[in-house]
């Protein structure tokens, strides 16, 4: 059984005194357990909206979203979310942020501290336990956000352009860390990005979205050999896939721009 099912999902935004703006139209997609699926598309095509609907933060207007067979009606710890701008609690330290999700679980304090420390170590933030987010670099903040979400052991991980704000070098390091985590946890992941190479490198499948209204126009299985490191991206096969996806996204980006003008 698919773990996540989008079934003819449609969503429009209504602003006062304006006609409804259709953000998503007729989205259907199934994600299998353990799969890493990227949503790839130009800015404004509704990627975040789709994630918010699955997260249960925004009420669905028509269609269905099923999480492990049950309709999504609201947020829940089964779906861990890493938001586009991290959404860390700025008044909490690194340790307190990562512990936040665990506070609700009835754990002995000792055990909770150990879990928190293990996640701090996992994202290489030892020594920054008592720093506030404002004292961290963008990459470090992102790692705190990921650790905070992973610490509660969600069933699926939803990430909204998590590396969009990072420089190329940090981004590459984060890719390796993420792949490492994925190999260990085998967690089902939906990953939003508009970076084609990133999508190809990380994903089992890539869903290409078109904009206004956002729809899924193609789902491509990425059949690269086992990801042993960034070098897979240098293969001819990887290049072909990137070229192809890039051309698909470009058509829509151009459309989106000309539609605005």
């Amino acid at each position: 059984m698919s773990q996540i099912v989008f079934d003819r999902v449609r969503h429009g935004y209504r602003a006062a005194g304006r006609p409804e703006m259709l953000a998503l139209s007729d989205i259907s997609l199934s994600v299998e357990p353990g799969e890493f699926v990227s949503l790839l598309g130009p800015s404004g095509c509704g990627k975040s909206t789709l994630l918010y609907l699955l997260g249960g933060f925004v009420a669905i207007q028509s269609g269905r979203i099923l999480m492990e067979g049950r309709k999504v009606t609201g947020p829940g710890p089964d779906r861990g979310v890493v938001f586009q701008n991290f959404a860390l609690f700025p008044w909490k330290t690194v340790r307190q942020n990562i512990a936040y999700g665990l506070e609700r679980q009835k754990l002995p304090a000792r055990e909770r501290d150990e879990i928190v420390q293990s996640f701090i170590d996992m994202v290489h933030l030892r020594g920054f336990e008592d720093s506030f987010p404002s004292q961290l670099s963008g990459g470090m903040r992102q790692r705190v956000a990921i650790a905070r979400t992973l610490a509660v052991k969600p069933r699926v991980l939803l990430m909204d352009e998590p590396f969009g704000a990072l420089d190329a070098q940090t981004r590459e390091i984060m890719h390796e860390e993420l792949l490492g985590i994925m190999q260990r946890t085998r967690m089902t992941t939906i990953f939003v990005t508009h970076d084609v190479r990133e999508a190809v490198y990380l994903s089992d499948r890539v869903a290409v979205m078109s904009s206004r209204p956002g729809r899924i126009k193609e789902v491509l299985t990425i059949d690269l050999p086992e990801r042993t490191g960034p070098s897979v991206m240098k293969s001819a096969r990887a290049n072909d896939i990137v070229e192809y996806l890039w051309s698909q996204v470009k058509i829509d980006a151009a459309h989106a721009v000309s539609a605005v003008q």
Binding site: Y100, G101, F132
Partner: protein, 249 residues
């Protein structure tokens, strides 16, 4: 260098003190309407020594603390809940909007009539005066919180009260504390003006009592005490505020 900075910083105050001392002594102003600073300080010493200052001061501080404390206790939760609940907002917002511009000192005669000369009338006035600024800052602060922070809390399984008081209010703290700071300043205004008009003790009463009796030097001394109290309270609040907002980096 340190000493130099210190001198620069306090020189305006020192000049003011000097002018205060000299103006009446040189006959530029009547010594009756402005006694020299040294005379005022001697009265201050006497007022402090005979316990008057402490008694009236404690009475005033208690009214201020109680009124402002109540305003925070009521205003923060109410403002925060208003910002998140459409129903509560629909009930409270029109009331708040109507009362906001009203000068609260206009309530002094009414409160005197209802609550008399004791502590209750002053505490009530300060409470009413400070409630709206505190409530508005909590409301605006919580309204301005990034919804993604609230979503985050909910996705970790937190219920609505937990989201409001565990996330929205701390996130709104910068705006909230700024509101409380202006309420603190307002509470001194309300305290002293209400003690002028309806009290038998307190620093405001002391000032008007001494003034009415023509004891101008001690009256100025009491005014200085009130000014220093207000200044100190604001400084202390700033220190607490910086502590609480240390996370802003």
């Amino acid at each position: 260098m340190r000493l130099f900075d210190f001198c620069i910083r306090w020189s305006p105050l020192a000049l003011l003190a000097l002018a205060w001392e000299l103006a009446p002594r040189l006959g530029l102003v009547g010594a009756q309407s402005l006694p020299p600073l040294s005379v005022v300080m001697a009265s201050l010493w006497k007022l402090a020594a005979n316990g008057d200052l402490l008694g009236h001061g404690l009475q005033s501080l208690w009214r201020l603390g109680a009124g402002l404390g109540l305003a925070i206790l009521v205003g923060v939760p109410l403002g925060a809940v208003m910002a998140t609940s459409r129903i509560v907002n629909a009930v409270v917002a029109p009331l708040a909007r109507a009362l906001y511009p009203m000068p609260k000192s206009a309530l002094i005669p009414v409160l005197l009539l209802w609550l008399g000369l004791g502590n209750a009338s002053k505490i009530m006035l300060i409470f009413l005066g400070c409630l709206l600024p505190v409530l508005m800052s909590a409301y605006n602060g919580v309204r301005g919180v990034d919804r993604v922070l609230l979503w985050s809390a909910r996705s970790f399984g937190r219920g609505p009260l937990d989201v409001i008081f565990g996330v929205a209010v701390p996130a709104a703290m910068p705006e909230l504390l700024a509101g409380i700071r202006s309420a603190l300043a307002l509470s001194f205004v309300l305290l002293v003006s209400s003690e002028f008009l309806m009290a038998r003790d307190g620093l405001g009463y002391l000032i008007s009592f001494l003034g009415d009796g023509g004891a101008y030097a001690p009256m100025f001394a009491a005014v200085i005490v009130v000014a220093c109290l207000g200044f100190t309270a604001d400084r202390l609040f700033l220190v607490v505020m910086r502590r609480m907002l240390a996370w802003r980096g």
